[in-house]
């Protein structure tokens, strides 16, 4: 900068010399007015150059910030006649004593050495307490009376009294005019931007001001910008967690877009995943986020739901990515004394732009967050609506999203528990009539509940911590008023299993118990068989097994109807699966060693309703019967008057080998030969070629000369196909299009030509010449064989 000032001095001397020369020439010519103009210009240039030299000296000292210096008292570098009073000091102005003033003061009104800004040409520091100025009495003035860009020197004595009183009372009292806080901030701004001192003191103080006075958007904007800019200027990597929390968690800095940019840049630099707090802030500030009244009407529920969803999706937080283009950070000082200064013929900002990592530059990384935000709004709409209507209790609870219901006690929990405890059987099973549960849900008596009502009932039970079987969410059928449900405490959550394995198992259980109960009672052995079968056939998880067990209890208590189950089975299983089901049912019926008529009837009915063959049932029963060594015992039928049928004699043991009647075989062979002869006459299979030689290559001597008549090889072929065929057999395969073109070339229809040639070749060559594939294949070997034979 010194070098720079030197060159300006030379330029100044050169300019003055040039002006003196012009002045002498003007005097010589007698142009008096022109001479005056030149003199004024010379004076202005000299003053401007002098000021520039002064500013150059100031700028040179701003390149480094002193973070550790906590100078309690020091003159300002930008102005020789104002002094800084920091923490641990006091200053008296008039009757006011200000502890920890953190501001500038001056005992006189001299302005030498101070900068001249675009907004304040007086040269005085706006925040400086000029102690020689008059001080009035504190007064209450209307808002805005202080004006824009106030300065201590320019405000009225009474306003000075207001300001000094506020300062003396710790700078924390309510303010009618934010201008007083601005006045104080100007000093802090100067201290850091011009003097580069007391970073650790000033940033928290500015953050405190921000938190304290939140009613002015302008104040928020300037102070946030100041903090962000200075953090970046200091170097974000040097900002520790405490300072970060102080600034971003305890002040509204993060409410600004710049604040968010700096905060996310810090998170990126520190490689800290995006926490819920920052995810919420990002979602709220992103212009793509849907705006909804839900967030204001039910903020707590919204935040809770957002938290659950965010944690579910990003249990470890979201790691941030950064754009390749860095983000530029500007700051425009709020102080009129530090506004844009006139430098080299123009105004220039005191704060140079700074580049930081640009996390907000990649918006796509926040899409999942926005989606969660939108989902929360959607899912809370119903609850928000209830909240607007003032609805509470069960209805409000049930309007909550499932995630929020989990952590909230259902309003009807107590009465449900009481009702359920009244229906525990001696075996410890809980069988509750729907007629008892439905009123708890406010459902009046009716023959059959709607599916919606039934599902509501099951869901309420789930919220309270019970599972119901049957569950309409699985069966898709509504409860009847006289139905009974089996209630159980689910392990973990009361999941509604839509797993096909579970659905299959439940239907099989139903069918099995229907069959088992056909004889009027269900034996333990039958239950065991069914249970073992289901365990072996279906891979159920513990929750599903528990639900199935509950269903089993219900079905044992109230055996099911077969017709409905069969209908459902037939609609969802294929033939093989139905066969397996049927085998299982036969097993169920026979497991107690007795197949009674009602069981047999029921089995037949099931077979029929499943669309299976009754004959297979007989076979199956036969096969089971053979597994028992005891003789078959047939009980007498009821129609005693009817003549019975003789029981057939026991079949002899099957021989290990079978014996064939040779004479019969000879007869059949003879007959077969005769049939062969008959068929041969028709089918023409006696034309033995006895050719076992390997296939020959395509014939080379195929005659294609039309004048010479049909080629010898094509004897018996309709002459109009001869030339076509001659060309056809020149290559082994033809694309269909080519083939059609070839046929057209000889004025033949392709399909007709193919049929004619193949018919001929079948008769003459023993097989088809053209294989109707894509592409068409020409069996050239046939031609080769015929050629051989003819030769």
């Amino acid at each position: 900068m010194a070098k720079n000032g030197h060159s300006w001095g030379i330029a100044c001397v050169a300019g003055l010399t040039f002006l003196a020369l012009l002045f002498a020439i003007a005097r010589m010519w007698g142009a008096f007015t022109f001479t005056i103009y030149l003199l004024v210009a010379a004076i202005a240039i000299t003053a401007a150059v002098w000021r520039s030299k002064r500013r150059g000296k100031n700028m040179g000292s701003e390149e480094n910030i002193n973070f550790n210096s906590l100078s309690a008292t020091s003159p300002s570098k930008g102005s020789q006649n104002i002094e800084w009073r920091g923490k641990g000091t006091a200053i008296s102005v008039g009757d006011y004593v200000i502890q920890d003033p953190l501001t500038y003061f001056s005992d006189d009104g001299r302005v030498s050495g101070n900068r001249v800004s675009q907004f304040d040409q007086s040269g005085r520091e706006a925040s400086c307490l000029y102690r020689h100025l008059a001080i009035g009495r504190p007064v209450l003035q209307e808002k805005g009376a202080l004006g824009y860009w106030p300065s201590y020197a320019s405000i009225s004595p009474d306003q000075r009294a207001n300001y000094l009183q506020w300062m003396a009372l710790g700078k924390k009292d309510d303010l009618n005019d934010i201008g007083y806080a601005f006045l104080y901030f100007y000093g802090l701004e100067r201290r850091l931007l011009v003097d580069n001192q007391d970073f650790d003191l000033i940033i928290p103080e500015v953050a405190r001001l921000l938190s304290r006075y939140t009613f002015s958007g302008s104040f928020l904007s300037y102070l946030s910008s100041f903090i962000c800019y200075n953090l970046a200027r200091m170097g974000l990597e040097k900002v520790d967690q405490n300072l970060f929390d102080t600034i971003f968690l305890k002040s509204p800095v993060a409410d600004s877009e710049t604040g968010l940019a700096v905060a996310t840049a810090w998170l990126y630099i520190k490689q800290i995943p995006l926490s819920l707090y920052w995810a919420t802030r990002i979602a709220r500030q992103d212009p793509r986020t849907p705006r909804s009244v839900v967030t204001q009407r039910v903020p707590e529920e919204f935040q809770k739901l957002f938290e659950i969803k965010y944690n579910n999706k990003f249990s470890d937080g979201l790691m941030l990515k950064v754009s390749s283009n860095q983000r530029r950070l500007d700051h425009h000082p709020a102080s009129p004394s530090l506004g844009r200064t006139f430098v080299r013929g123009g105004y220039q900002s005191l704060a140079e732009p700074i580049l930081i990592p640009n996390v907000l530059g990649i918006q796509s990384q926040f899409n999942p967050i926005l989606q969660i935000y939108s989902e929360c709004i959607d899912e809370l709409k119903s609850y928000s609506h209830k909240a607007l209507q003032g609805v509470d209790g069960r209805d409000a609870f049930e309007a909550l999203p499932d995630e929020l219901k989990k952590g909230t006690e259902h309003p009807d929990s107590e009465i449900w528990r009481k009702t359920i405890s009244e229906h525990v059987t001696e075996k410890g099973e809980v069988m509750v009539p729907i007629s008892k549960l439905a009123p708890l849900r406010g459902i009046p008596e009716r023959p059959k509940l709607t599916l919606k009502q039934s599902i509501d009932l099951a869901e309420t039970a789930g919220h309270i911590g019970y599972g119901l079987e049957r569950d309409p969410r699985i069966t898709n059928f509504g409860y009847r008023w006289e139905d009974i449900v089996s209630v159980f405490h689910p392990q973990g959550e009361a999941l509604v299993s839509k797993n096909p394995q579970y659905l299959g198992a439940s239907i099989m259980l139903e069918l099995g118990l229907a069959v088992a109960s056909a004889d009027g009672h269900i034996d333990d052995s039958e239950i065991k068989y069914i249970t073992d079968f289901l365990k072996g056939m279906f891979m159920l998880d513990p929750a599903e097994s528990q639900r199935l067990e509950s269903l089993k209890k219900l079905l044992v208590a109230r055996p099911p109807s077969i017709a409905e189950v069969s209908r459902r089975l037939k609609g969802s299983l294929n033939q093989d699966q139905l066969e397996t089901v049927a085998k299982y049912l036969v097993g169920v019926a026979c497991v107690d060693g007795i197949l009674e008529k009602p069981e047999l009837r029921l089995l037949k009915k099931i077979y029929k309703s499943l669309g299976l063959e009754e004959a297979n049932l007989d076979l199956l029963i036969d096969s089971i019967r053979q597994e028992f060594p005891e003789p078959v015992v047939i009980q007498t039928g009821k129609r005693l008057g009817r003549k019975g049928e003789a029981i057939p004699t026991q079949a002899e043991a099957k021989p290990d080998r079978i014996f064939l009647d040779e004479s019969k075989i000879n007869t059949i062979l003879q007959e077969t030969i005769e049939v062969g002869i008959i068929l041969s006459q028709v089918l023409g299979t006696n034309d033995n070629f006895e050719s076992s030689e390997p296939p020959k290559a395509a014939p080379e001597n195929v005659q294609t000369d039309q004048v010479a008549g049909p080629p010898v090889l094509f004897r018996n072929l309709d002459p109009r196909y001869s030339n076509f065929l001659a060309e056809l057999v020149t290559i082994p395969q033809w694309e269909r299009k080519q083939f059609e073109q070839l046929a057209r070339k000889f004025n033949l229809m392709p399909a007709g030509a193919m049929a004619a040639v193949n018919e001929w070749s079948e008769q003459e060559l023993g097989d088809f010449l053209i294989e109707d594939a894509d592409p068409l294949l020409i069996n050239l070997n046939l031609m080769g064989e015929k050629n051989e034979r003819d030769n």
């Binding site: 029929k608 009754e614 078959v632 080998r657 064939l660 041969s680 299979t685």
Partner: protein, 438 residues
């Protein structure tokens, strides 16, 4: 069995048998017995060839070989230059319906249309083009042009115009020819679509082809007759219509009215064929004995059919091949043995020296089947044949292994009879059984 078997036939036979289905070609190599039945069906074809018509009901139990016999008749018909159409009846494809199900059956038949030169179906275009190109060739040989060709087609199809929709049929053929000459594949495709009964509205058909009618549920039998006449004009012997799984009509079609309407169509076919009202067409229907004899749901439940089809003297194994019904008896163990011999022969391509196993092995194999599948194993030979083909395949690929070793480890799985699933009207009448101790 001394003739050489073509590799194409060998592969087709073995591949089909391995998958448990009846082969479409080379059936004569594995045919066992059925002399009278084969003779009867060939006799029918001769009658059709001479301008007559025939109808046959192939009746037999599960595994008796109905499908095999149907395919055999198909193969014979193809060799005799018949045009053969075949389809399986299902609930969605029947002879009579007013919901597009009869049209679906017709479309299926057209899709599966086969001729000797194209035995695997899809031969509709070939049949058309053969006719059209023959006419075109002959007219142009005589110096005619497009106009004369169209006139000649109409002239040739004149006999069809006596039948229902014959005029539209001729027009569609002309459109096909036009499409060919103009290289307009859309027009050709539209003509084929019409013939395959794929048009569902008359408006659309009018726009695309200028014809006023379409093939619909009400007229599929009329169009089959029309097609039969056309095939003869086109130079084929006639049309054979093979329809399998007729049991579906009796045992899967639960609506008695719908069932009877289908039986009415069968009655109409039967009457036309037996009374000589149609020519150049043969029908072969295959179904279980339940389809025929069930007095509540089968053909016998329809009085007019019962009187025409039943023969009270053809009982206890006595046969009457002069009537429309051919009852196929299940195979005996000896039949099965011969069948296995035939399969062994196919494996060796007809060369005795290449037989993979001796006779003894086949008897051992049958013993194994008897143990695994039960005493009636020979009545449903599908599983056994599948296993036997698998057994021989392994032997063929592992010549160093003894057949006895492989046989020890062979597993034969039993399939379930898919037929005769009881309908909803079947009630559990209850047996006299009260309790069965197991």
């Amino acid at each position: 069995m001394s003739e050489t078997i073509k590799p194409r036939e060998r592969d087709a036979i073995l591949q089909s048998l391995r998958s448990g289905v009846v082969p479409k070609i080379g059936l004569d190599h594995i045919q066992v017995g059925r002399k009278a039945e084969v003779a009867a069906i060939i006799n029918d074809f001769n009658r059709i060839e001479n301008g007559g018509a025939s109808v046959r009901f192939i009746i037999g139990r599960f595994g008796a070989g109905k499908s095999f016999f149907l395919n055999l008749s198909r193969a014979v018909a193809l060799e005799k230059k018949f045009v053969v159409v075949n389809a399986d009846i299902s609930v969605e494809k029947r002879l009579y319906s007013n919901q597009g199900k009869a049209r679906a059956l017709y479309a299926e038949l057209m899709q599966n249309m086969a001729i000797r030169a194209k035995p695997n179906g899809g031969a509709l275009a070939n049949v058309l083009e053969k006719f059209v190109s023959d006419v075109d060739h002959n007219v142009r040989q005589g110096g005619g042009a497009d106009k004369e060709v169209a006139e000649e087609i109409i002239k040739k199809l004149k006999p069809l115009q006596d039948q229902v929709s014959g005029y539209d049929f001729a027009n569609v053929l002309i459109k096909y020819l036009e499409g060919f000459h103009q290289q307009n594949e859309t027009l050709m495709g539209n003509a084929l679509r019409w013939l395959r009964a794929e048009y569902t509205t008359k408006t659309e058909a009018k726009q695309d082809l200028g014809v006023r009618n379409i093939i619909s549920d009400e007229n599929i039998y009329d169009y089959l007759k029309l097609l039969a006449s056309f095939t003869r004009i086109a130079g084929y012997t006639g049309l054979l219509v093979n329809i399998d799984e007729m049991g579906v009509l009796s045992h899967r079609l639960n609506n008695a009215i719908a069932r009877n309407q289908n039986y009415e169509t069968i009655l109409r076919i039967l009457n036309d064929c037996l009374q000589g009202n149609v020519s150049g067409i043969g029908f072969v229907f295959a179904g279980t004995d339940g389809f025929l004899e069930d007095n509540r749901r089968g053909l016998y439940s329809y009085e007019a059919l019962a009187t025409r089809l039943s023969n009270q003297f053809a009982v206890k194994g006595l046969k009457d091949y002069s009537g429309p019904v051919i009852s196929l008896e299940c195979l005996s163990p000896e039949d099965l043995f011969v069948l296995l011999c035939n399969i062994r022969n196919v494996f060796a391509s007809g060369d005795k020296a290449k037989y993979l196993v001796p006779d003894e092995a086949m008897k051992e194999f049958m013993s194994l089947c008897s143990k695994t599948l039960g005493a009636d194993y020979f009545k449903t030979p599908r599983d056994l044949i599948k296993s036997f083909v698998g057994f021989l395949s392994v032997l063929e690929q592992n010549p160093s292994v003894s057949w006895k070793d492989i046989l020890c480890s062979t597993k034969i799985e039993q399939s379930v009879d898919p037929e005769s699933i009881p309908g909803p009207e079947d009630k559990d009448e209850g047996s006299d059984l009260t309790t069965l101790k197991l």
